[in-house]
């Protein structure tokens, strides 16, 4: 089976200057440093990690909004480039994005109905306005926006309603892939669940595949068929959500999972030591070793490979057979 989206060896490096004014030494910021993953049609991959680990850059790379430094992204067999040509425009119809900040992503001078209809206007310019309005009305109903909202402006809506507008706009062309970059982190906790349920319902109904990005493990777990944990531009662990959350193998994942409060049960919490990660100064060897509670001498020298084994994958020298470990 070929995947809908397949990412191989994806890297994105930015040249930067170290502090020190004009004469600072040039350095490389490795925002994304070698990613491999697949998303089959209709499935959801959750990408989780701390801020600054390269999640959002991954989203922009996957959609062809920034060009990769190395590696490739294939969508439905076709190469995704960041060249804004006709092929790129055609791909827009089938891959869309939901943004973190819905107010920022909407034009405050345009009624929301018109914004929801904009992808249709762009990609199906021949469609009569009446039919477009009909489709917009359907979309608004699908995301739970009343018809009375149609002529309102973004600032007249609540945060949750705005995100529904963004989702409706993203779904206007019935895309095969939806990239959601922290879609609920700007919303109130009480609204988050509603929006997540909406996304889940819509996915069940329309069957789009999704790349779901969040720093919040609980959110990713609810939404995803598979989960990948990112640290400093790389995937350190991947697997089915239940396995990753109940039996995390990588020390970093273990620390993340231990930080989730579990009602009614006290659990040992692993507190990470050391500096927060800086993608300009990636440590030699395993990038995680300065903060790893179980690092060995080997970890400081050799970069661990992401070993795949029966649906699990881990990049750690201390874990040799992921599946066997998980079974323990």
């Amino acid at each position: 089976m070929t995947a809908l989206l397949s990412v191989r060896g994806l890297k994105r490096h930015y040249p930067v200057r170290r502090p020190g004014g004009l004469f600072g030494r040039p350095a490389t910021l490795k925002a994304v440093d070698g990613l491999d993953f697949d998303i089959p049609a209709g499935r959801t991959l959750g990408l989780v990690g701390e801020s600054g680990c390269g999640k959002s850059t991954t989203a922009r790379l996957v959609l062809g909004l920034v060009p990769p430094s190395a590696g490739e992204v294939r969508f439905d067999g076709g190469l995704v480039t960041a060249k804004h040509d006709a092929a790129w425009r055609r791909q827009r119809r089938r891959m869309q994005m939901v943004y973190q900040d819905p107010l920022g992503a909407l034009d405050r001078r345009m009624p929301v109905a018109e914004q929801i209809g904009e992808p249709i206007a762009i990609h199906e310019p021949g469609l009569p306005a009446a039919e477009r309005a009909e489709r917009v009305a359907e979309l608004m109903a699908q995301v739970g926006l009343g018809a009375s909202m149609a002529q309102r402006y973004p600032h007249e809506l609540s945060g949750g309603q705005r995100q529904r507008v963004v989702i409706a706009r993203a779904l206007a062309l019935d895309p095969a892939l939806l990239v959601c970059d922290e879609p609920v982190s700007a919303l109130d906790v009480s609204i988050q669940a509603q929006v997540l349920n909406l996304l889940d319902d819509l996915r069940a109904r329309t069957g789009f595949a999704a790349l779901f990005i969040s720093h919040d493990l609980k959110v990713v777990r609810q939404m995803s068929d598979r989960v990948a944990v990112m640290y400093l531009g790389r995937i350190v662990e991947e697997g089915a959500p239940e396995e990753v959350f109940h039996a995390p193998l990588h020390p970093y994942t273990q620390a993340l999972v231990s930080a989730i409060p579990v009602p009614g049960r006290r659990r040992e919490r692993i507190v990470l030591e050391g500096d927060p990660p800086n993608p300009v100064d990636v440590p030699a060897g395993c990038p995680f070793h300065p903060r790893c509670p179980v690092a060995t001498a080997r970890c400081t020298r050799e970069v661990p490979r992401l070993e795949r084994d029966a649906g699990r994958a881990v990049a750690c020298h201390l874990v040799t057979a992921p599946a066997a470990h998980a079974a323990e």
Binding site: L106, D107, M110, V166, R169
Partner: protein
Amino acid sequence: MTTIPDDSGSVFTAKNRAAAFFQSWPPGILLALAWLAMCALLVAFAPHVAPYDYLAMDLRARLTPPVFFGGDWAHPLGTDELGRDVLSRLITSVRISLVIAFLSTLIAATLGVSLGFLAAWFRGRVEQVVLMLIDAQAAMPFMIIALAMLAFLGNSLPLLVILMGFYGWERIARIARGLAIAASEQGYATAVRDLGATPWRIYGRHILPNIASTLIVSMTLNFPEVILLESGLSFLGLGVQPPMTSLGNMVGYGRDYIQSAPWIMLAPAAAIVLTTLSISMIGDWLRDRFDPTLR
């Protein structure tokens, strides 16, 4: 202390209401708006309002002074050396000067916004070229460029309008570029670009409406300067050519009679000053009200 609200309170509220009204609509602005409204009416209905044809000569009534200065109501602002009615000529001149200034400002705005957007969209080398053009235009006094172009290309009304249209484009371009760059870094423009929208759609339907208020204010500030420029050129005899008339043109011809009939020159001069003053005041007021970010 308790106060019983009775009908004496209404006096206060009426007073407060008046104060609040004048707070948001200062009397100077109201006067300026009234003057401009009158000018707009003149522009629209000049031939119907003017008591005489602006070219009609009455050689028996040459150099009649205005009413209250020894003249009569037949010619409220007096007549010129050919017996033409100054008021009628003034009305026609206001019409021509304002139309020229309006068309030219429109050209300058279109040019400025287009080049500013081009620079913002392409960045890199295109932006450098636009910035260089802006600097070059700003380095030379426009009056001199206009005179040179008139010398080299000859004079006609369409050419004059287009030439004036090059006045002030560089300021509008600078503002448009800055605003467009700021806007395209905002989420809404990025989001529309991610949808696969063409630059036409991003700039025309999203960025332009978002920055329109600032652009309109800067156009308002450009307008009176174009009036001054056109009247300066016409005053020198190099702008609007007779038999057509404009405000500067009238001052220029009236200057020969400064000793015997100063009203020929003073009436259009006052019209120029009042009009530019009104538009500048309104421009400043709009800027303070809607766009404190501008300078």
